[in-house]
Symmetry: C2
Subunit: 302 residues, 2 copies
């Protein structure tokens, strides 16, 4: 069975066709313009693909409440043309197949759980740290949402004692995203992250903020794996710094060997790399095909 | 069908017998002493009760991993005699019925979801703020655990600008529990909370810390209800203070009417009051009886 996957990012769309084993067999990518330009390209790509289901991992915020009149819409984005856009509805009108629908970051968490770093596990958390900071949560075989969906990029963080940067989040100033997203890093140091050498003080301050969110996620979600992706996390020197800071914050309180002795295997980069989101969209499509759930945990551990 | 319920607290045990509708028909309570004194009282209470299942909500930390050799044990508590005690195993040896087993706070979250403030909802978070701070998470029809179980009482918090209290958590100093549990309140103000008048500055500082954890939980879990229980939350003047502070932190970022217009119905006391834990243990027993899950959401909304 061929399954369609749409990773709808704020900058670019990636559409792909894959199979039930998580193999992407074909893909296409184009910039995210207004819906009137972008959605016809999506429709055209899948027009003759004969997919049995389509999964969408979308930039947000999005409406995920099945009983809501605006279910399937992007909600309050400043992106021109996309606010209140009935993304899912437009595609459903065109393709009579089951659809999976979730945030791009929840999709990435699901992708890593299905075929990546959290394969065979029952829970994981995915942070993407790039232009913004996003959080996806996978628990009990499904991406987590409730009131809306996780927006863990905007949690309050403690200020680093040597950091007087005011933060750039338009809503919260110095929340995690305001202090640690790529643009914050660049504004603080007057240079993009990839121009700062691995030994630069930027990285320990960056790790200080990310580690607070990771430690809080461990304490409040107790996930079996933490996956850190996105452009900023390409700076691999961050991983040991974050792991040490998480251990320092937790201070041995949570008694689990994954934290005490094996944290290098617990806080990890995405195995699927930049493809986590597209694989996640594929997994969402697969879950939709199977009536709302696919037991990736059982499948992965076999 | 009669179902047994055990709320195993660090100070006292409450055992009860209830039915599938959440009605507690009988109960007994005794102080938590060493296991050698306490467990025989539990066994004696249920000896002739002919219950079809037993649910246990236990003080922790506890081992919840079914594949662990110490599954069913209390793990690292300083409470004399209870560290590494095989709580679940001791009762299983005596009663050949299905057992539910989770933390006392996860049980309280489940109880409120089954028959209380979150009835009919798919997700809720329960904080108990008393001698310590505990967090229970209910999502997708089940209490959440993974690596271990939520320990959300120990998240880092930003210090209130007018507060120089160092915090009393032996692991973290000024984490949420270290700053906001009942003993922290008493140490900071040299008087127990119930002796401080409602207009005392203690309460806005207390709300400041609790609201940070609540706002972070909204951003990272997106629960449909937040229930705040425990001795400190008997001070009902805290609720409006916490709600206002949560709105201030989120600053309109999460677009949900529950937060924007109806926060008074969203951040609430437990409907089951001090009985949330015992009802939760009953619900754990009922889930065990039904093979690991009971669809309280469907049941509550009918």
């Amino acid at each position: 069975m061929r399954i369609g996957a749409i990773e709808a990012g704020g900058t670019k769309f990636v559409c792909g066709i894959g199979n039930e084993e998580g193999k992407i067999e074909d893909r296409i990518s184009f910039p995210t313009e207004r819906p009137g330009e972008t959605i016809p390209k999506v429709i055209s790509y899948f027009a003759d693909a004969q997919v049995g289901a389509i999964g969408i991992g979308s930039f947000g915020p999005i409406d995920l409440r099945p009983d809501s009149p605006t279910y399937g819409c992007i909600t309050t984005t400043p992106k021109p043309g996309w606010a209140q856009y009935p993304f899912l509805g437009e595609l459903k009108r065109r393709f009579a197949v089951p659809f999976g629908w979730d945030t791009d970051v929840n999709a990435a968490a699901l992708g890593e759980a299905a075929w990546g770093a959290a394969r065979g596990l029952d829970s994981c958390i995915y942070y993407t740290i790039g232009t913004g900071v996003g959080m996806g949560v996978y628990s009990g075989g499904r991406p987590v949402h409730g009131l809306v969906h996780p927006e863990g990029g905007h949690v309050p963080v403690r200020r680093h004692p040597e950091d007087d940067f005011p933060g750039i989040c338009p809503f919260h100033g110095d929340c995690l995203e305001g202090m640690a997203a790529g643009p914050a890093l660049e504004a603080r140091w007057k240079a993009p992250g990839h121009q700062l050498p691995p030994g630069h003080p930027a990285w320990s301050i960056e790790a200080y903020y990310i580690a607070q969110a990771v430690a809080a996620a461990i304490l409040t979600h107790s996930p079996q794996k933490i996956v850190l992706g996105g452009g900023v996390m390409q700076q691999r020197q961050l991983f040991p710094l974050i792991r040490e800071e998480v251990k320092r914050i937790l201070n041995g309180y949570v008694q689990a060997e994954e934290l005490l002795d094996k944290i290098g295997e617990y806080i990890v980069p995405p195995v699927l790399g930049t493809d986590a989101g597209l694989h996640g969209a594929l997994a969402l499509g697969l879950q939709a095909l199977q009536g709302g759930s696919a037991d990736f945990a059982a499948c992965g551990s076999s």
